[in-house]
Symmetry: C2
Amino acid sequence: MAWETLIQSVEQVVGAAGLVRDPELMHSYLTDWRNAYQGRAALVVRPATTEEVAAVVRLCHDAGVALVPQGGNTGLCGGSIPDSSGRQVVLSLTRMKRIREIDLANETITVEAGVILRQLQEAASQAGRLFPLSLGAEGSCTVGGNLATNAGGTAVLRYGNMRELTLGLEVVLPDGRVWHGLRGLRKDNTGYDLKHLFIGSEGTLGIITAAVLKLFPATHSTATAWVALPTPQAAVDLIGHVRSLCADRLTGFEMMSRQSLEFVLDHVAGCSDPLQGPHPWYALIELRDTVPDAPLDLLLESGLGHAFETGWVIDAVIASNQTQAAALWALREGISEAQNHEGPSLKHDISVPVSQIPAFIERTDSALQQAFPGVRIVSYGHMGDGNLHYNISKPLGHADAPFKAQEQAIMQVIYQMTSAFNGSISAEHGLGQAKPDAAAHFKDPLEIELMRAIKRTLDPTGLMNPGKVFATGLE
Amino acid sequence: MAWETLIQSVEQVVGAAGLVRDPELMHSYLTDWRNAYQGRAALVVRPATTEEVAAVVRLCHDAGVALVPQGGNTGLCGGSIPDSSGRQVVLSLTRMKRIREIDLANETITVEAGVILRQLQEAASQAGRLFPLSLGAEGSCTVGGNLATNAGGTAVLRYGNMRELTLGLEVVLPDGRVWHGLRGLRKDNTGYDLKHLFIGSEGTLGIITAAVLKLFPATHSTATAWVALPTPQAAVDLIGHVRSLCADRLTGFEMMSRQSLEFVLDHVAGCSDPLQGPHPWYALIELRDTVPDAPLDLLLESGLGHAFETGWVIDAVIASNQTQAAALWALREGISEAQNHEGPSLKHDISVPVSQIPAFIERTDSALQQAFPGVRIVSYGHMGDGNLHYNISKPLGHADAPFKAQEQAIMQVIYQMTSAFNGSISAEHGLGQAKPDAAAHFKDPLEIELMRAIKRTLDPTGLMNPGKVFATGLE
C-alpha cells in the first residue's frame, strides 16, 4: 500500500484535525519532555473516539505499518517515541479526554486514555472523592500512559500502583477489534483477567482507550513530619513501627540521603534545612485520615517518641500547618531538578524487598566508590515500596564527558546488585526503549520467553510499538 | 506409554508415600466436600516439593496424560475434580505445606500451595500481623486453591481478593519447567505481569507451587453493628456514608434479606433476632483499627446517627463485646447451612456495580416471582463488592424434584439479568466445570477468544485441567 493511500484513508477516519504532518507541528510528538529520545514518523494521528482509534489501527494493520501509541510524552524510558526510520505512525490519544462517567455509589470513574492525570484528580476531588495516583508529571501525563506503564509515585505505599487502581479497560487490539472490558466490578472470576496483560505492557499488545478506575474517600486530616535518621536500617525499623501503629493512615514515607538534601538546599530557591546540623538520612512521613480533626499529630508524636528511645530517629519536626507541610514536600520533590545542576544525572529506578534496602545501599555504595571513586550518590525514594531512585552525579570538579562515558559501567554495577537482591531494574518507569536489553540480561530467560509467546499471540504481526519492552530480535 | 510405566516413573519421583492408588483412599480426592461432583482418576499423586511437582508434570506431559491440580477440594464449581474417564491424574498439593519465610520488614510471607488458609492466618497472627483473606472454608481450603480461584470472602471490601494480596508466584508450567517468579516486590515494571495470568486460571495454565503474599498490621480495636434497612438502596446509601467517614476502618459490610435471617433463626441453634419486629433488609457492619482502644463505637454511632435521620436505617444495635459481635456474625455465617434445611439451594454467585444492586434485586426478584411463583429468594452477600449470593429455595410446601428441574431455567433468568447490568456470573467462585458453558454464553466472544489464545500458547497440549474454565470444544 502506498503511503499516500494510507494517509488519505486515515484522514477520512479522523478528519484534517486528527492528522499532523507539518514537520514543525510534529516535533513535539517525536521527542520526550527531557529531549532524551528523538525519533521520526511518517505521520502523527490524533483520533478523537475509540471507533476512530480502531479504524486507524485496522488501516495500519492491513498496510503493515507499525504504530507507536502516545500519551503525554512524559515517560523516562522513551516508550512513546518512534524509531528513526520515519516509517512508524505515532498514534496520540490526547484528543480522547472525556470523563465518561462518575458512579459515586460504585466508587468508580470511567475516563478516556487522553485525560490528564491532574484533571482526573480534580474531577474526583470535585465529586468529594480521591483519585490517589500522584507523581511529578501529573500536570501533563495521561491516564493512558499511566496505564501503559503501570505508573507508581508517592502514594503507592497506601493505594497501590495504577494496576491496583484499575477495575476495567477498553482496548483496541492490534488488528483493530475492540475489547470492551470496561467493567466496574470489584469481583469477577470468569476466566483469565485480561486487563492485567495490557496494564504495564507499554502499548506492545494493544491500545488502551478507556478505563474504569477506583475512587477513594477524600481525606480531611493530615500530619507531616521530617525526621533525621542515622542509617537506612533505622528507616526500615521506623516504617515498620509507624505502619503497625497507624496502618492505612500512613500515606507517605519517602527516604532521602543527606547528599540529596544538600543538592536541593544548594539549587532550589526558597528551600531551607528544617533541622539543625547535617544528618546522614532523612524521611518524610505523611499520615492522612478521612475523619476531620483526627488527632494525627498525637499519633505521629507517639510513634516518633518510641523511635527516639530506640535510636531510630535523631531529630524530627512535625509541620504545624499546610504551608510547612508543603515546604517539607518541596525538599523531596526538588531532588530531581536540583541534581540536574550538578551535571549529568545517571538515573536508576530500582526496587528490592524493603528489608533489603539497607544492605543494598551499603553494598552498592561501596562497590561504586571502589570502581568510580568520588561519584556522588543521590539515593532517595519510596521507602515503603522498596523503590529507590538511586541516581549518580559526577565527582566534584570533574568534567561531564568522562563521567557520561561511564554510564553503562555504572549501570551494570547497580543492576547487578539489584539482581543479587532479587530486585527489579525498573520499579515504576517501565522498559521503553531504554531498558529492554538490560531486562533481557537480568530477567529469568524463561520469563522473557513467556512474554515473547504472549506478544506473538496477541500481536502476531509485531506492529504494536516495536522496539519497546523486548530487546532487538527478541520480539 | 503404558500406564504402568508412567506410574512406576512417577513413584520413582514421589516415593510410595506420594502415590495413592487404593480406591478407598482415592475416594476423597475424587469428590468435593459437598459431594456435588464425582470423578475418576488413574491415580492420585502427592508430591512434596516443587522439584517433584515439576518432574511429575514433565512425565505426564511426555506421556500425554491430563493433570487435575487439587488443593483442599472445597471449591463450589468442581474445578479440582477429574472427569469420569478414569484417565486423568489428580495432582494434590496438600503435602507442600511449608511456610518458607516471613519477612516482617518487607511485610511478606512466602508459603507453599498446600498450606491451609487458617494456618497461614495463624502464622501471620503469631508474627504480629494480619493475613486478611477470610472465607467459610478457611479451615480446610489451601493457599494454592485460593490463588487458582482468586478467592474472595468477607474482607475483600478492605483488603482485596487473593489477587491483590499476592506479590510473587512459583509456577510449574505445563511442560514441567519452573517459573521462579517468587519476588517480594511492591513495584516491578519490567514487562508483562505474568502472575496475574496464573491467579484465577483454575489450574488450566500451570500449577502454582508457592507464593509471596502481603501481610498487614494487626488490628486492635473493633466495632460491630447490626442494622435494619428499609431497602437495598438504603444499604447503598449507608455504605457510601460509612466509607466516606471511616475509610479503611470499614472492614466488613454484609447485607442480607429478611428471608435469609428467618432461615437462620429457624434452623441454626442458639441464634436470635437482635432487633424487635421483622425488617425487610439487614446489614452487618464491622470497623477495625490498628490503634488500641480506638473510639470506633463513637464513630459508628455518629455514622448511624446521620443514617437514622435520613431514613436509611430503621433500627440498629452495636455489639458491646466480642461475644455479642460473634453472635451477630453467626447470623450472617449461618445462612448457607440454614438454607439447606429448606430443600435444594440453587446457589448463584453474581456481582454487579454496587450502585446497581437495588435495581438488580428489584428486577430479578420480580422476574423470578413471575416465572416461578412462590420461590423463596435468599439474597445476601458482600455489599461493598457488589457481590450477591442470590440463592433460591423452593416455594413453601412444594416437593424437591419439580423445583430442581427448574434449576437451569432459574439460572438463566438470574444470569441474563446479571449480564444486563454488566455484571459477572461468577464473582468469587470461579468457573470450574459448573459454569464454563454459561461463561461462554454470557461473556464477550472476543474475550473468550483471547482467553483461548492464551490457553493454547501456554498449554499447547491442553493437558492442564481440561474441561475447566472453557466450554467443551472451546479449549
